[in-house]
């Protein structure tokens, strides 16, 4: 056990970098490169610290670890409380892992306001990590919403031609959801008198109210996932965002929705979750099939991958609401895998965009001739996206489908067609970009990956195979928390016909457990 508040350290380390960068004199000719190096250094240190945290993480328990608690608004029972369990720890790692990659990816492509750009990314990292570590609802909400600001700026300032429209769409969609989430949270606070997530999990709310609360939360999380039909902000946001913006958006921000379901909807509102599960399934399978078909006809590389993201996230929501071990573990695994793979795919687009400044698929073709290394990297991520076994994409999808089959065969059947469509649109994309005749002169002169780009792709490729060949590394820490989540869920939704004695016994047990955990702490 680590004694000092390591989670706060990871969360606020990037802010220290921001302060450093802010003090750089923007008029100096080295301002841009100084800002880049500071940002890279700080994000790498943050990653190393989070790695240290991960090595000290005990994968055998469902308890929250590295918990730190400070009074924040003492009169109101609101505190600054941080901690990670098996569900959140890997998301923290994902965020700290992708940030340095984003900074490296922006090295040459961002030319204006470099200082501010790096600051925005570091702030974004703080917000993401903070959100995944929050154990207090209000704290969570603050981080959850604050993420919007740097992301909005990244799209709105460093984006493409139509960036303002995309940024506004992104902001409007997510804000609408957020307002409803806030209302739900306020209600919970008024009723329960606390914002502590663990305490809220034990609360018992009548079903009618649960339903309203659930829908309010759903509005917010569904937009973030994004689920059909509130997905249309994503393609625009991706297309207009700079490469690194897309990477972090697809890599981490889309996971906020799924994480929200796991952290709030299911444990706090279990009965409503059971009530609405079919509703989520329907939306999810529509998302899988509908967006896969839309992806088939895209002419813009980023849009295609954005639509494929929606389809993949459809699998995630399917998995989460199966509420059995394989489904939920698969969903979390799929989120991690998608975080790596879609991030890598957007990086692949970024590589050619940097060289030719277009995302039009038909402008490319025959890249394999002059960019063989790129062709290999792109092929690996394409296969991972398609869900080939031994790549990370397979494990998540397979577990989700296995889990879903136990709940409903018809949804499994429909969702599995997405796997076929996925192969079609990804391979078509790959063929049109990498294979075929070289039609355009400027394509012939494009240079293969440079050292910086190889350094970006190498760890991603390694992870893709690691997660595919030996997923136990990642499934093991997830398992106890998921087990716990499902056990609690099943406990809450079973008909309440237990005898008094059982109840008392359970209460006693719970008390003993609580005391135990206190002792451990």
């Amino acid at each position: 056990m680590i004694e000092f508040p390591i989670l706060s350290l990871i969360t606020f380390l990037p802010i220290i970098g921001v302060i450093f960068i802010a003090t750089i004199d923007s008029k100096s000719e080295y301002a841009a490169s100084n800002a880049k190096y500071v940002a890279l250094f700080v994000s790498l240190v943050t990653f190393l610290v989070s790695l240290y945290m991960y090595f000290n993480f005990n994968p055998n328990t469902a308890e929250f670890q590295f918990v730190e608690e400070k009074q924040w608004l003492p009169g109101l029972g609101i505190s600054y409380k941080m901690g990670v369990d098996g569900i959140s720890v890997l998301f923290v790692m994902l965020a700290t892992f992708l940030t340095p990659i984003c900074i490296l990816a922006s090295w040459d492509s961002i030319k204006k306001r470099v200082k501010e750009y790096m600051m925005a990314f570091l702030i974004l990292e703080t917000m993401m990590v903070g959100m995944f570590c929050s154990m207090d609802m209000l704290l969570f909400y603050v981080f959850f919403e604050a993420i919007l600001i740097p992301m909005y700026l990244i799209i709105g300032i460093w984006g493409g031609d139509n960036r303002v429209y995309a940024a506004f769409k992104f902001f409007l969609y997510t804000l609408l959801g957020s307002v409803l989430l806030l209302i739900a949270m306020l209600y919970l606070y008024m009723e329960m008198g606390t914002t502590d997530i663990q305490t809220l999990m034990t609360s018992e709310i009548p079903l009618d109210i649960q339903k309203w609360l659930w829908l309010a939360m759903f509005a917010s999380f569904a937009v973030k996932v994004p689920m059909w039909p509130v997905h249309t902000w994503l393609p625009d946001a991706h297309v207009q965002a700079p490469t690194a913006g897309s990477v972090i958006l697809a890599g981490v921000l889309l996971k906020m929705g799924g994480y929200g379901f796991l952290r709030f909807s299911i444990p706090i509102l279990p009965e409503a979750t059971a009530y609405f599960a079919d509703f989520v399934f329907v939306l999810s399978v529509i998302a899988v099939v509908y967006t896969s078909m839309v992806a088939l006809v895209q002419t813009d590389m980023k849009k295609l991958i954005a639509y494929s993201s929606i389809a993949h996230m459809g699998f995630v929501t399917l998995g989460i609401f199966t509420l059995n071990t394989q489904g939920v573990e698969g969903a979390i695994f799929q989120m991690l895998s998608h975080g790596i793979v879609s991030a890598a795919l957007f990086l692949c687009v970024g590589v050619v965009y940097d060289r030719l400044h277009t995302r039009e698929i038909d402008r490319y073709g025959g890249l394999v001739k002059n960019m063989p290394k790129y062709a290999v990297a792109f092929m690996i991520f394409t296969m991972a996206s398609v869900g080939l076994p031994v790549t990370s994409g397979f494990v998540g999808e397979f577990l989700i489908l296995i889990g879903l089959f136990q709940v409903s065969t018809i949804f499994t059947f429909i969702a599995a067609t997405g796997v076929v469509l996925g192969a079609a649109y990804m391979l078509l994309l790959y063929k049109r970009v990498v294979f075929g005749e070289q039609k355009n002169e400027d394509v012939k002169t494009m240079k293969d990956l440079n050292k910086r780009e190889i350094a970006i792709f190498a760890p991603l490729i390694l992870l893709v195979f690691w997660m595919g060949v030996y997923p136990s590394t990642f499934l093991k820490p997830i398992a106890p928390s998921v087990e716990n989540l499902i056990a609690n869920y099943n406990y809450s939704i079973q008909p309440t016909e237990m005898s008094e004695e059982d109840l008392i016994d359970d209460e006693l047990e719970a008390e003993i457990k609580e005391e135990d955990t206190k002792e451990i702490d």
């Binding site: 078909m293 006809v297 391979l427 136990s472 499934l475």
Partner: protein, 643 residues
């Protein structure tokens, strides 16, 4: 030894793939070939140890996926059917590797090609040595990817790319079935390991479950879904259109993947799951009928094709049909036997055809060949041997296995068995006919190519011819020498527990008691077919054209492959893209965005416009509004208190 047989190809693929530039083309070719030959030697040893000495075993490597009660490991299962497959795969693969050194000598990307070949071999080995369905699925998809890469190897060609994608997506449709089948099995059995599944078959044989709203017999459902996977991979009717197009790949690829190994994975899957299939008689019946139809339709198409490789491709599909109808009558060992012999002679035919194409400066159209048998005698003789074996002429390998397949169909004594037998006899005739049509068209008659090509016709280098001798030995002797082991009286010891047949379904035993004419007929129609081909293409070469003209409609129908591609394009591909655009342009842009963000934005702008009109800045406007306000107030109060 097991690790040598399975992981050396992977090692070769990694070395040639990652360090191809460093060690050069020669280095990569040498290393991959050398490792492959070692693996083949190891599999020879394993074949002796596991199959001949009945010593099956499972080696667990490490846990792969563990989630809740789902536990699967990476493992090597060396039982009898696995070792037969390993033997075939490694031998043919080694031959193809060495052959490719010569065949690809003018290609710029030699190291890459060798790496892909080795990668394919590894995936195929993982498939056949899997101890659970998930690893099998890995191999299944892995060979799909390797096949995709190799079909599209000449990736500057549009047709090659399209064929590669078609192969992958078509196979994915099959995999979709296979994956659902795996899920049914996990749902019912709670495990995906073969041994644990097979133990519980007896107790779960009457289980029913709900699927898509229907109440179905679990084992029937599982087997039907698994078979969809087998249909995709083994190009059975319905999911077959990718196989002929796959001939866009280099010829060694066609020999290895699309004749000897990958396409037989479907057969292997059914044999592997025989303890399940035995309890799904309706699925077996379906397999039998579909297999017979596939054999027939493929053979009718093969008769009309002019591309030398496509003829052999359709012949492969047709022979796979034979294997499947043998499976359909529970004669798993007969299917394995045909798979075994077929691998040798079909690989020989493909590589021989490759040698012809090589000699003809990459010409594949048989109408532009002819009269070259004197110039390339070694290739010519090998093509004869391969064709004789394929046609089922006595004492060549194909004779024994094809006879066996037909006999078991007859011995099944069911209507579908009988159907398969008579279709099979007719197909045997067609097979002999088109095989020798190929020989006569390609090698005999007057040269029909231009002189430049003719001057250049040359025998292939030794590195391409020598490995073929291995296959020649197989094509001549594999039938006679392995007959007793595979389908004779020793088959019980030979296959051990790896194949499961219910006592009442044991058609292989019954096949030994069929009437003599049943056993003689296939060879007889084969010889008739050869003679007929001779009449058509040597004796009176005008005859085929006349007949084609007389039956124009049928000829065109066969030539255009029964219009399967056109049908699928109309029914599936086009609507899919259509709906894609529709969902995008109408669904997303018009409806969701139109009513959602853009609609809201418009609405708020409109409201803002309206309200801004209120603030016109003219005093008399404001005065007028105030006046109206006062009137309203006053009238409201008057009505409320006085009314």
């Amino acid at each position: 030894m097991e690790f040598i047989a399975v992981f050396l190809p992977l090692l070769g693929a990694l070395i040639a793939g990652l360090f191809g530039k460093v060690i050069g083309d020669k280095g990569s070719q040498f290393i991959t070939c050398f490792l492959m030959v070692c693996a083949a030697a190891a599999s020879l040893f394993l074949f002796k140890d596991v199959a001949m000495a009945s010593n099956p075993r499972v080696l667990e490597i490490f846990t792969w996926i563990s989630s809740g009660d789902l536990n699967v490991s990476w493992a090597l299962r060396f039982d009898q059917i696995a070792v037969v497959m390993v033997f075939v795969v490694n031998i043919v693969s080694a031959v193809v590797h060495i052959y490719s050194v010569g065949y690809m000598s003018h290609d710029p990307a030699k190291a890459k090609f060798m790496a892909y070949l080795s990668l394919f071999t590894f995936a195929m080995l993982m498939l056949v040595t899997a101890d659970n369905l998930v690893q099998l699925f890995f191999g299944w998809e892995g060979v799909g990817v390797a096949s995709y890469l190799l079909i599209g190897f000449w990736n500057h060609k549009e047709s090659a790319n399209s064929a590669a994608i078609k192969a992958f997506v078509m196979n994915r449709i099959g995999d979709f079935g296979l994956a659902l089948g795996i899920m049914v099995i996990f749902f019912a059995f709670g495990t995906l390991n073969f041994d644990e599944i097979f133990i519980r078959v007896e107790e779960l044989k009457d289980l029913h479950l709900e699927f898509l709203g229907f109440d179905v017999h679990m084992i029937t459902l599982a087997c039907a879904l698994l078979f969809v996977g087998a249909m995709g991979k083994s190009a059975q009717l319905g999911l077959h259109t990718w196989l002929p197009d796959a001939m866009e790949g280099p010829t060694p690829v066609s020999a290895l993947i699309h004749a000897a190994t990958m396409v037989t994975a479907g057969v292997f899957l059914v044999v592997r799951m025989s303890p399940l299939f035995e309890y799904a008689p309706s699925v077996l019946m379906f397999i039998c009928i579909l297999g017979a139809l596939t054999a027939l339709i493929a053979a009718t198409i093969a008769v009309t094709q002019n591309d030398i490789k496509r003829v052999i491709a359709y012949s492969t599909m047709s022979q796979l049909g034979y294997m499947f109808f043998a499976l359909g009558v529970s004669a798993y060992s007969a299917a394995m036997f045909h798979l075994f012999t077929h691998a040798f002679f079909k690989a020989l035919l493909f590589l021989g055809a490759g040698s012809v194409i090589h000699a003809m400066s990459d010409e594949q159209d048989m109408r532009k060949m002819g009269g070259i048998y004197k110039l390339i005698p070694a290739t010519y003789i090998m093509m004869w041997i391969g064709s004789l074996a394929l046609a089922g002429v006595p004492f060549f390998a194909g004779y024994f296995s094809k006879d066996m397949v037909l006999e078991v169909a007859y011995a099944d004594h069911t209507w579908f068995g009988m159907f398969a037998y008579w279709v099979g006899i007719f197909v045997a005739f067609l097979t002999a006919f088109y095989s020798f049509r190929l020989i006569f068209m390609a090698f005999h008659g007057k040269p029909r190519c231009d002189e430049k090509v003719m001057d250049h016709v040359h025998e292939s280098p030794k590195i391409m011819l020598r490995p073929l001798y291995v296959l020649v030995i197989g094509a001549v002797t594999a039938g006679y020498s392995f007959k007793e082991l595979f389908v004779g009286s020793d088959r019980g010891d030979f296959f051990g527990k790896s194949i499961f047949v219910l006592a009442e379904n044991d058609t292989v035993a019954a096949a030994h008691h069929v009437p003599t004419w049943v056993a003689v007929l296939p060879a007889a129609v084969g010889i008739v077919g050869i003679i007929l081909a001779w009449v058509f293409y040597i004796k009176c070469p005008k005859l085929p054209e006349k007949i084609a003209n007389a039956f124009k409609w049928i000829y065109k129908f066969f030539l255009n492959k029964w219009y399967f591609d056109e049908l699928y394009n109309r029914l599936v591909v086009k609507p899919l893209f259509c709906f894609g655009s529709l969902f995008w342009k109408i669904g997303d842009v018009k409806i969701i965005d139109g009513l959602g963000p853009n609609g809201v934005a418009k609405l708020s702008k409109k409201t803002a416009d309206l309200t801004s009109k209120l603030q016109s800045g003219y005093v008399y406007h404001y005065a007028f509004v105030m006046l109206i306000g006062i009137v309203c107030f006053v009238s409201f109060y008057l009505f409320k208190f006085n009314g």
